[in-house]
Structure formats: structure tokens, C-alpha cells
Subunit: 449 residues, 2 copies
């Protein structure tokens, strides 16, 4: 495929497309893989192609067995499609993301974009089939409308709304390969043997698993290639086809490069996939926690002990000190343990909550905050301490509105060092449980270790 082909009215920066330049381009792009240079390259790099993405999201989700189309099913109260948009958005060199949704879901989709502050998104109306939805997305990119902010890209990524775990590296691989080959797509080994039935419902033959692959997403194409393929393809293709790579092959004679993808690329298809997605997301946002404490000398000992215990007990979790809260928030830590050694009030916890509130951190994920207090039996009796701390229920109800899940933890603080260690270990287990489960049914509870 060369520039100037019929159907290609010329992207703003056509750039070199010949196979001979592929190696140089690949090298330039490979440096992006390091991640650190991504931004500079995307903003200033002259040889990076203009890339857009099309996301068909018009499906009805009938396989899920639930009335809501699967791309709108909530995970931690946020629709699945928002996670996929987030995954594409954070790749800065994707300039535009065109989402095709049905007319009936258009307003809901606008609400999602606004609520979760998605950027660079344009909406088009979905067609009755996946191929027609993709075609509508491509048309929006091809034809410069008077009021459209879209421009014709050199390379277009096609992805699914229901594959939320796509990583930058595979996107980069398919884009780079598409630039060289005209088309590229992610593949995976087959999990089951594929068979061909005869007309009477019996086995005709089975396929050699080593010679076949599952075609997954993302895929990428030179825009002119895939747009021409869609313009030329038959109504039968648009109605019953399932494979964009096949269209590029059939109508533009472009043999797509196949790129081995990771297991993360799987498609949320059944209800069990929603369960899996929720567990994966919960696990990802539970990988680090921040311990906030004062540096007063009398408080520091037990606070440090708890921090050490958390590091020992949760050795898969990165435990950070909250000295520089802004930095912690920038690192997208969604779990906070606020240590109050001497007090039964929530002054310090309230300060933390205020900082979190200003940061907008909880827009995308529920943030867990655990207000830790200690009971040494010397100053205040247990019952009294409990009564003081029960104010947490009101506070928790208030911050829940902002997607912050607040719990209290009262740790018994005996003089005996060994018993203290045991209390702290129990406390660490409870903290780990609250962070892992992230269930709003337990907000405002005062747990006891």
C-alpha cells in the first residue's frame, strides 16, 4: 500500500510508508517502549505517525445473560467501558478516540465521559453490526466535518470496549507493525481445540492447535488501507464478518502482521469475566498503601512498628510513608492508613480526607482510608474509647459520597512487647482485608485488633 491510493485523500503528515523505512521507524518507536521518552516523542517527534483509535461499543451483550450491555456493566461502580477508555487515554500518542455507541446509549455515554473526565473522545452512532460501527468510526475520522476536532490519522487502532487491560506496549507493537505492513493484530494461543462440525451435528474434523491462533484485539491499520477495505467490502461482509484483518487481506491484499499478545487482552464476554475483571482491578489498586503519621517522638515508636508489620505481613504490597502526600497521590496510591496514637478524635484523619478530596484521586477508583487508633487502657477505658470513636460512622457516610471508603481500627496496645507485636499483626491482617475487599458495606465500622 502506497500513499495516494484511491480512497486516501492524504493525511496531514503522510510520512514515509515504504517497507524500507520500517527498520528505522521501528527503532525510533522501540525507544518509546522505555516509557520515559513517550511524552517528548509524542509531542515533538517528527517521525511518529498520527494515531487515532476506534472503539466499537454498540453490542447488546446477549452472551452475558444480563440486561445491561456488557460494556456498561459496573465494576467497582464504574462502567467497564470507562476502564478501557482510561487504558487508551493514558497512551499520549493516541490523538483521538472515536467511540461508536447506539443512539439509545448516547446520553449515558456522554454522562460517563463527563463523570470520569475522559479526554480526546468523540462519539459516533453505532451500526447494527460490529463492522458497521467500525466503519462509522472510520468515516468520522476520514471526513473533516466543519465542527469536528477530528483529523484523518495515518494509523488507526481498532480495539474493543470490553478489553480494559490493554497495555501501551502491545498498542505500540501493532501500530509499529501496521506502519510497516499496512495491518497488524494481536493473537493468542488457542485455549480449546477448534473443530468443524458436519451438517448432522457430528465431528467432521478437528484443527491442529499448533497451526491456528485466536485473533484478539488491538489491531492497527494504515488508515488508507482499512478505510478503503471498508468502502469496498460487500454488505454480506458488513453484516456477517467478524475479522478486520480479513477485510484488509481480501480488499487491499495487505497481509497483516500478527503480534503475540499477553493474556491480559482477553475479552469480557461472560458474567464470569466481569468477576475476573473486578478481581484484577481490585488487586491492581491494592498493590501499594501509604501510612500517614505524625513525627512526634512518643507516637513514632508504635507507628513505625505498625508500618514494619505491614511491610512484613503484606510483602507483596508497597508500603510508603505519607511524608509527601502530594507525591503519593501522584503515584496513584488508593489506600491510606492514618495512624493516631494518642487521640480519639479524627482531626488528623479529617486533614487527610480533605487532601484526598482536593486531589480528585477517588474519581476513578474507591479510595480506602483506615483511621488507626490505639487503646492502652491507662488513659481511657475501652467502652469510653469506643464511644468516642463511634463518630466515625457519620464521617464515613459523608465521605462515601466522594467515593472514599473510611473505616476505623482500634489496636490494643499492651505494655508487653510480644503482645503488642501480636496486636499489630492482627491489625495488619484487618488492614489487608479491608483494602483487598474494598466493600462499601463495611464503611464506618470500628474494627478491633
Amino acid at each position: 500500500m502506497e500513499s495516494g491510493t484511491p480512497g486516501g485523500s492524504g493525511p496531514a503528515e503522510p510520512g514515509p510508508r515504504l517497507r524500507g523505512l520500517g527498520g528505522a521507524l521501528q527503532a525510533a518507536w522501540a525507544s518509546l517502549l522505555s516509557g520515559a521518552q513517550a511524552q517528548a516523542q509524542a509531542e515533538g517527534g517528527c517521525c511518529a505517525p498520527a494515531v487515532a483509535a476506534v472503539l466499537p461499543a454498540g453490542g447488546s451483550g446477549e452472551r452475558m445473560g444480563v440486561p445491561t450491555p456488557k460494556q456498561f456493566c459496573p465494576i467497582l461502580e464504574r462502567p467497564l467501558i470507562s476502564y478501557t477508555l482510561q487504558a487508551l487515554e493514558r497512551v499520549r500518542w493516541i490523538k483521538d478516540i472515536v467511540v461508536a455507541v447506539t443512539g439509545g446509549n448516547m446520553e449515558a455515554m456522554k454522562g460517563i465521559i463527563q463523570r470520569y473526565q475522559h479526554k480526546r473522545i468523540s462519539l459516533v452512532e453505532a451500526g447494527v453490526t460490529r463492522h458497521r460501527s467500525i466503519f462509522n468510526g472510520l468515516k468520522a475520522l476520514a471526513e473533516s466535518q466543519p465542527n469536528s476536532r477530528l483529523s484523518r490519522p495515518e494509523v488507526v487502532i481498532i480495539h474493543d470496549a470490553v478489553r480494559p487491560f490493554v497495555e501501551e506496549d502491545v498498542l505500540l507493537k501493532v501500530v509499529t507493525a501496521a506502519k510497516e505492513h499496512g495491518a497488524a493484530g494481536a493473537i493468542r494461543p488457542l485455549v480449546s481445540t477448534v473443530i468443524s462440525p458436519s451438517s448432522d451435528g457430528c465431528l467432521d474434523h478437528s484443527l491442529d492447535r499448533t497451526k491456528h491462533r485466536a485473533s484478539e484485539m488491538p489491531q492497527a491499520f494504515l488508515f488508507d488501507v482499512i478505510y478503503e477495505a471498508y468502502q469496498q467490502c460487500s454488505d454480506y461482509d458488513l453484516e456477517f464478518g467478524t475479522e478486520c484483518l480479513q477485510l484488509a487481506l481480501k480488499y487491499c491484499h495487505v497481509k497483516a502482521k500478527l503480534v503475540e499478545g499477553s493474556p491480559d487482552l482477553w475479552k469480557v464476554t461472560y458474567k464470569r469475566d466481569l468477576y475476573a475483571a473486578e478481581s484484577i482491578i481490585k488487586e491492581r489498586i491494592s498493590q501499594q498503601m501509604c501510612v500517614v503519621m505524625d513525627t512526634k517522638e512518643d507516637e513514632e515508636h508504635v507507628g513505625r512498628c505498625l508500618e514494619e508489620m505491614l511491610k512484613n505481613e503484606l510483602n507483596h504490597v508497597k508500603v510508603m510513608s505519607g511524608r509527601d502526600l502530594q507525591q503519593v497521590i501522584l503515584e496513584q496510591c488508593y489506600n491510606f492508613v492514618c495512624v493516631n496514637v494518642m487521640t480519639s478524635d479524627f482531626e488528623k484523619t479529617q486533614k487527610l480526607l480533605n487532601v484526598l478530596d482536593e486531589s480528585n484521586l477517588s474519581i476513578l477508583y474507591p479510595v480506602v482510608v483506615i483511621s488507626v487508633h490505639f487503646l492502652d487502657n491507662k488513659s481511657i477505658p475501652f467502652g469510653r474509647k469506643m464511644e468516642d470513636l463511634m463518630q466515625i460512622k457519620e464521617l464515613a457516610r459523608e465521605v462515601k459520597k466522594r467515593n472514599i471508603l473510611l473505616c476505623g481500627l482500634l489496636i490494643y496496645y499492651p505494655q508487653d512487647e510480644q503482645k503488642l507485636q501480636e496486636s499489630l499483626r492482627q491489625g495488619a491482617t484487618i488492614i489487608a482485608t479491608l483494602i483487598k475487599e474494598r466493600d462499601s458495606g463495611l464503611i464506618g465500622q470500628l474494627l478491633i485488633a
Copy 2:
């Protein structure tokens, strides 16, 4: 395939195997589908074939990305394979279950059988490939060893250790179809398009999704058919083959009947599948709860109110009264709410725990028990009540050893009816959360509504 074929030394009850009898047999078996007659038929029915199952479980689970082979990965602390054995065991007409495990896992497997009280299981040594493991299982069924309790079945089911959600109806369908056709297997629609790569890693062609299916498990065979196929097949087949149906076709010219299976048949392959399996199991055992309370008049009002609230708030959950505990346990209810209106002790809860302990209910799944108490502020102040109830920590630690997860719930009991309803609603939410999460990190906690 007729009886008396080479390799068939004749099952105990050969029974009619000719195609012409298939319809009558199918009708007889179809009646089993109703479920109620299954037991009578299996015990007394003369036309039901002798059925055994072979479960290859020698895999290394490399795709899972964890060191433990996937069939031994724990779900709610119980190995995955135990769930699959449980699914096969409860089908009473499966007489023997032969499991092929590697020598290194033999002792672990014996431990699993003993701990979870599995019945009708025989162990054989796995081969280095799946086909060799299955062959070893078939050999054990074919050759009557002096000390073996196994006998040659008429029909053999082949299933996977990592497909724990297989239901009786699909097992019955494949067995019935195997009896008629010689071989049968469950299939599912393809989730992804299947493609064939060329040698340079590019797309050669894509397959029409409507003309292909994924071959899943269970499969079933006339024993003589599949045993002969394995005896005749090449070393190449045994090393690299993946499809038993293909062996029956290639070596015995038996065209397997394909049976549409449910999505539940999916294979636990990746880590995300373990997450999905855990969520499905948790959901299944959270579908009913039992409320245990005294019938004394002064206690009954608030107890009934809570029961009603649970029914309203958790309308997907069956809420039963615990008048006849033995019956409730027989119905495999794994969630108990013990209502103590006037007392701050655990006498009644302890009685319930004793009954559960004697029932062995918690061998297979962790049982959740929530001891509910009320605070009316008239009799005992909050702090004092709390102190009394904190004994629950010791009790919870004790019963955890028997896989019972005990928590306390203190519900505020105001005079105002509207406020009481609000307290009870909060209590119902907390109960639902504890049952849903089933996390041992919260045992012994006293939650407050």
C-alpha cells in the same frame, strides 16, 4: 463398533449397543434428566450403562503463571480439583472416577481425597502428556487387577480436573449420545475469530466463525471405542495430540456427536479464571441464609423485623427460619444468622456452632455465622455491652479451626420504629457483606449497625 471387538474383553453388562436401540435408550435416559428419578434408575435400572470417568490431572499449569499446578490452586482454601471431584461424585450413576496425577503429587492427592471425604476415586500415575494420562486411566479400567475395585465400564466420560462447574445434565447428554454414536463431546461457540498464520508470522487466512466450534469437556465414549483408539494410535498422537474425539474418528471411524454445552464448562487456564471461579463459588454458597431465633414473645418482634429486612434487602437470597436446623443443613445452607435479643452472651450461638460442628457441613465450604445482638441503652450502657461481647474474638479463633467464620453484629435498638428500621437495614447490609466476602480476616469482629 460392536461388542466383541478386539480390545474389548466385555464389560460386566454389555447391554444393547446397536444404533437402532438408541431412541429407546435416549428416552429412558431422558427421564433421568428430570432429576427425581435419577437415583432409582441408577440403582435399579437395567438399561443404564455402567459409567466411569477419567480425569487427567497431570498438568503443570504453566499458563497460569504460578508455581502450583492449576488443578491444585486453592479456592476458599480448597484445591480446585476437589470441586471437580465433588461435581462428578454427586452424579450417582458414575460408578468410578479415575484420576491421573504425577508421582510427585500422588501423596498430596491422597490427602485431598481424605480431607474432603471424596468417594469412588482411584488414582493412577499420569503420563507426560494429557493423552498419555488418559490412556493410563483407561488401562486401569480395562485390566482387572487382583486388588482393584475397578471394573470395565460400558461408557467412559473424559473430563478435565480444571472444569469444576460441570453439571449432571451435560454429563447425561454426552453419555447418552456416546451410547448411540460411540463418541460425543461438548462444544461451545468460538469467542474469538480463529486465524491461520503463514510461516512469516503474517495472516494467511481467517476461519469462518459460524462454521467452527470450540471443543470443550466433558466427552464420553463407548469404552471399547476409545480404548481401541488409544491402543492403536501413534506416539506422535500421544505426544502432540489434543483431541480425544479426533482419535476415535481416526482409529475407529467413529464420528462423535457434538453436544452444545453451557458457558459453565469453561476451563480454568489463567489466573483470572481462578478469580472468576472463586467469585462464582462464593456467589453460589451465598444464595441462602438461615435465621435462628428463639420463639419467646419479647424476642420475636425484633427478630422477625430483622428477618423481614433481610428478605427485602437481599431479594436474591433465600432467607429461611432455623426451626429445623438439620433440614437446613441438609439443604446445604452455608450462612447462619443467630439472633440474640436480650443476652450479651453466646450461649445460643454456641449451641448453633455445636450443631454445625457435628454436621460436617464446613468440610467443603467455609460456613459464615453471624451472632446478632441488640443494644437498647435501657439495660446496659454501650461500652459495657461491647466489653461483654468482645469474648467473641476467642470463640471465633476456636471455630475458625473447623472452617467456621464467626462474626458479631450489634444492632442499635431505639424505641422509635422508623429509626429501628434504619438500624435493621444497616444490619442487613453488613450481614450481606460478611456473607458475600466470606473473608477470614474479619472473624471475631463485632460490627455495629
